[in-house]
Symmetry: C2
Amino acid sequence: MDNKTTLQKILDVGQHLIQKNGYNGFSYADIAEQVGIKKASIHYYFPSKKELVQAVLQQYHKDFLNDLFQIDQQFNDPVKKLKAFFQLYRNTLDNNSKICLCTMMAAEISSFPEEIRGNINQFFVDNAKWLENVLAEKKATENPIQAEDLRDQARLFLAVAQGAPLLVRTSGNFAQYDSMVDHLLTNL
Amino acid sequence: MDNKTTLQKILDVGQHLIQKNGYNGFSYADIAEQVGIKKASIHYYFPSKKELVQAVLQQYHKDFLNDLFQIDQQFNDPVKKLKAFFQLYRNTLDNNSKICLCTMMAAEISSFPEEIRGNINQFFVDNAKWLENVLAEKKATENPIQAEDLRDQARLFLAVAQGAPLLVRTSGNFAQYDSMVDHLLTNL
DNA sequence: GTCTATAAGATGATAGAC
DNA sequence: GTCTATCATCTTATAGAC
């Protein structure tokens, strides 16, 4: 994995640092150290920090949509899809106690210009839309349900995916995440 | 309200700034400007930023526990208590689009020493404990339930209270918060 | 208690050599 | 592309006068 371009290394380390410490919690010096270059070199690729974070967000968003696509390919059962969805967020936790990039950026939203705020929101919209579709598959086999209710339930699931990692990372007990998800999926 | 002590003004402005911009997103200069004193004066009350944030957290935690106590005094119906609980988090949103202090601090947890991390966790534990008690009241009148399940459900509710504000503040549509809570309470 | 002055270091960013 | 050197600014924090 050492044959990554410098650009890719910067993006990956940048993403890691934002998920770990937040946009206001890392510096060009941190990236330089972990990538093995000098601060000035980062400016060659990303003249400003805002441009860097935007590129990181774009990569994260694209990768996540691909993950959702893979889930759709792999499973037919809606409940299994939902479990796989929550497993994505669990994988992030397992990977160095990180949280979703957009959970972090949503908390720090006051630091970003309007365009980036829109991009963060689009990530959530895409998450909710995917959840809504899966929940619709589930409900189709059971009693009919209002479209409005489906949207609310999808957003509720997403709220859990955003909030639960914050709780269990603070407690240090990641198993609580699984219990919460189990409870949610059992009572849906 | 101008008869507040300087100490109290610093605590209140500090709390506001952390909820709005995060611990890594505000400086002593910001507090000084809003309180109407000089930076150096803040150090008279709080020699370091860590001591300031700890005092802010302590005040926030105390005020929140008092809010929960007031809810217990005001309502008997468990469902009404739960609605009032989520209304507390909604009030924070309505107040200048702020989020819970501990949602923000949980996101920035890597910036804090072990002692403060423990204090943040205690806030969540107290929240979950209160929710568990209220949910137990509710279930007592219906079918019996496992204690373990109650704890999971309480944490799930708390995860929604932590995650939903992040979502709706990003979308700008606060009404989505109410819909999510309605959905949660209707299907509990 | 609050101020001025200042330190010591970090930060994002630029210029220009190689 | 990556470096050294440098900048202007901001950051937390301290010393000492009033």
